[in-house]
Symmetry: C2
């Protein structure tokens, strides 16, 4: 048993969770991980291609599945994974449950932190796996599936470590009764709710899954991980590492199982509806997410789709703002759940330090900034990454048919390393505030709408309405007026949407930092859960107290 091996990491993480200053356990720069790690990771990734994935410790019957295709090469990865029947997965999870439930949270947290350290040794393998399944650039793949995901996982572990120790394991209770007293011995247990299911998505297979996996595990529940069939390898590597560390510490590796399936024979609903599955973490489209949310008798955590807004009121330096926004909309081709889509701009334009700019001038500035970025040979391809799948690509290519005025038609951008890469630069459409039918849709991928409003109040009203009705994970706002700023904050916060004000330079609205930013608030239709507030942890177990008369 590791006992207190990682006490220092846990203590720092608990403190960081509370303080919400900048904090990171896992440095985000690849260079922090040694000179040999990149080449070793690349070689290991190459060696996994066209092979059965054999690093898992889980057992089970069933055939093998695998249908991943690189968005960069458009070639199948050719890796196969075990496809275990649902009842077997659930049975093995149940079999592993009791020992883990009866392990003190301090030990569980220690073993789990150890597994993060093991995952750290695979950051480059996971980065290449992420790149060639999601289409993220190498750098984003490395950061999002590596250090950033591990930091968010540690956030879950630390929150669980703290919450499960909130009440004493035992306490003596003595009630004065005149000259005598009544004495009870009480015990308090955080009883795990049951088997957890984490359903992954094709764009962020690790970052969106690790928090739920670790939240289930730290609170004493076994977890079954059902990845998107097109993005299995990144999370399979993490699961294998977790299984190894569990087994090395005397626990059943089936506490964390991979449940791979195929697009043709999906098992997600069967897993969701299995009576022993009590916790579900879901990332993905709203239709399935809404189904998951209505399942009775399950505790459900969702991140679904949202439509994120930018409110442009007034700025200091319009060029700095437009560079920032051009990057925000181009980054991973708008496939981040935090990417802005709807830009609300008053018809009279935007005030700047250099005077008033008309709506058209603002639109031109944004168009120019996007074009400059995507056509920059050193920046364009790396910022855009690749489009994960053909459906998203086709929707982006056909964006002009949505209506409105095409300000910028997206199209192919050369990726020098991967000539077949599925790349499409952003399309920019201008629509009027009356075009609800256009801007009330989530246009996942590289499509941005400029919406002409009567004034900033009107912009706020529409952005608020969008968040309330369709959900929002982020809102960018630019204003130099403190009264307007206060109003934007009040109105957007009232629909449980966080606001990022006046972002320029090396910070973008898309980015949420572990230990500080809550990712998704859980209060609007974009999702019912948040990385990582307490609800994300404490809904996974139940406090139960026993009492006994002293001396009985």
């Amino acid at each position: 048993m590791l006992a207190t091996k990682h006490q220092n990491i846990l203590d720092n993480a608990v403190k960081a969770n509370h303080e919400r200053r900048f904090y990171s356990q896992y440095p985000e720069h690849p260079k922090a991980y040694g000179e040999e790690a990149p080449a070793k990771g690349a070689a290991n990734f190459q060696a996994m291609l066209q092979q059965p994935f054999d690093q898992l410790l889980q057992t089970g019957s069933g055939s093998r599945v695998g249908e991943e295709v690189s968005p960069y090469t458009l070639e199948p990865l050719g890796i196969t994974y075990p496809s275990t029947p649902v009842n077997e997965l659930v049975g093995k999870a149940s079999g592993a449950a009791r020992q883990w439930a009866n392990t003190p949270v301090t030990n569980r947290a220690d073993v789990l932190t150890d597994s993060l350290e093991r995952i750290k040794s695979l950051f480059f393998e996971i980065a290449y796996a992420t790149m060639h399944t999601t289409g993220q650039s190498f750098m984003m793949s490395f950061q999002a599936s590596g250090p950033h995901a591990n930091d968010r996982a540690l956030e879950s572990i630390a929150m669980g470590y703290e919450e499960l120790q909130r009440f004493p394991a035992e306490q003596s209770w003595e009630k004065p009764m005149g000259k005598t007293s009544l004495q009870l011995h009480k015990t308090f247990k955080a009883v795990p709710k049951g088997i957890g299911l984490v359903i992954g998505c094709s764009t962020f297979p690790v970052w969106n899954s690790l928090p739920g996996i670790y939240a289930d595990l730290v609170t004493g529940n076994p977890v079954i991980v059902k990845p998107h069939p097109k993005a299995v390898l990144p999370i399979a590597l993490a699961i294998a590492a977790i299984q190894q560390v569990l087994q090395e510490n005397g626990f059943d590796p089936h506490l964390c199982q991979l449940a791979a399936d195929s697009s043709e024979q999906p098992i997600t609903k069967a897993l969701c509806e299995h009576p022993d599955v009590r916790l579900i973490d879901y990332t993905g489209g709203s239709a399935f997410g809404n189904y998951v949310e209505t399942l009775q008798g399950k505790t459900v955590f969702t991140e679904k789709a949202g439509v994120n807004s930018v409110i442009l009121d007034s700025v200091q330096d319009i060029d700095a703002v437009m560079q920032n926004l051009a990057f925000a909309v181009s980054l991973y081709s708008g496939q981040m759940c935090t990417a802005p889509q709807n830009f609300f701009i008053p018809e009279q334009g935007v005030n700047t330090a250099a005077g008033m700019l008309s709506f058209n001038e603002v639109a031109q500035k944004l168009k120019d900034a996007i074009a400059a970025l995507v056509n920059n040979p050193k920046m364009g391809a790396g910022t855009l990454g690749a489009v994960q799948n053909d459906a998203t690509l086709r929707r982006a290519q056909d964006a002009a048919t949505l209506g409105g005025k095409v300000l910028l038609q997206g199209g192919p951008v050369v990726n020098e390393e991967f000539s077949n890469a599925r790349v499409c630069s952003p399309t920019l459409l201008e629509v009027s505030s009356a075009d609800h039918n256009i801007y009330e849709q989530e246009l996942f991928g590289p499509v941005i709408l400029l919406i002409k409003t009567k004034d900033t109040d009107h912009s706020i009203q529409l952005a608020k309405q969008m968040a309330q009705q369709h959900g929002a994970i982020t809102c960018g706002a630019y204003t130099t007026d403190p009264v307007v700023k206060e109003k934007i904050a009040e109105e957007m916060n009232s629909v449980f949407t966080p606001v990022s004000f006046n972002f320029t330079g090396f910070i973008w609205v898309n980015q949420h930092a572990a230990f500080s930013d809550f990712h998704v608030t859980g209060g609007n239709p974009a999702g019912n859960a948040s990385f990582t507030n307490q609800e994300f942890i404490i809904k996974r177990f139940v406090w139960v107290g026993n009492r006994e008369v002293v001396g009985s």
Copy 2:
């Protein structure tokens, strides 16, 4: 503004919430409240009879309603309450919301604690009101609706006071970027979810309602209180006190409104389904509770019905055990949600310090203990109180028709003070473990079943199954064997049911102490919420963070 008037009370309550030792802010003995309070309270209660209730500060159109009947005199109380249309209630709550939401939690907690002190001055009025609506004895009415309810309300306030200060209101975030750094100013707000609705029951109109009322208020939400039409006065008195304290401190009294209705024209569903009602606390039957739990877009806290078990394995002193159990089943005629109903006894009997007692001997002991208690002129009527309504009375009177063998037929017991009181002593039936159809029902009121099992393992299995399928709020267990004790704890806790071991003397399984015992775990069908774990508080608001580039 009261600022820090009650800092000491709040600090002690926060500490007590964590430690879970014995703690009480409001002494449970009536004598603690001064010599004049009882007579004054009685006189004030008498003066309210046959009058319109005029202490509320809320305004609204609508007629007046009132249909309360004393279970002791069977006479109508003749008190009427305003019956305000649903849209008006919701509109006034909305109008009051923003000022309260923008008031710091420290101030809210202070004002709310002040309102508990105001309620304290009405403990005797509320006691008589409770007695003559619920049928509780005077002492239970005083304690449950007075100090015990106030303590549980303070628990909610303290939990909110702590949780809403968990994260800093603002923080500077500085990310190192090589030679420079990136600085953001962040703010964190706990945004209230919206209007709360608290739906009361006819047996514990104050104790079961105050925790939800104060949980809504401390987290910044307005609350509408919909009492059972047969038990309005006790909670109306508390609401009037809250309204007065709110107004005296410059807040809108409509933050806490009474929503009285009639049995003929109920408004509960209309309130539940109003889109602006976002939080619902419900106490009552399972059918309506299940409906409330399936409402989409609402955060729901329920306490529904359960079937509580007692597992008899082995005891030291059988007479002490039977006296304790006789009191537990007779107290308020089995109308407590915590009252035991199903007694699982092995067919080979129960081991005692004085040797083995057969099943029949154990049954006889329980029968004798109940008969001795209810027929004791100093104890019987006071312990039983009165049956709240005729339907419960009829069900208890007809219990023999359920099946099984009648060991003790309940019937009228003389109440010397109230000759018309609706009193019925417990009926004791013996059934076999095969009689699922009988013992799987909640037999609300004075009906107890002795169930003959194969052995204690069988008893545990059935009690566990009952809790899992039908819910349980308590489980009493008697065993002198540490291995059996561990097994009972493990099995019952696994279905989220707390166990009270070997209770004899002045402590009964029915009682849950504020600041120490979690009332209902929230993990089985008896209810999805708990007084007061953190979920009860933090699901009522959403953490939202804003960020701004420093110097922008």
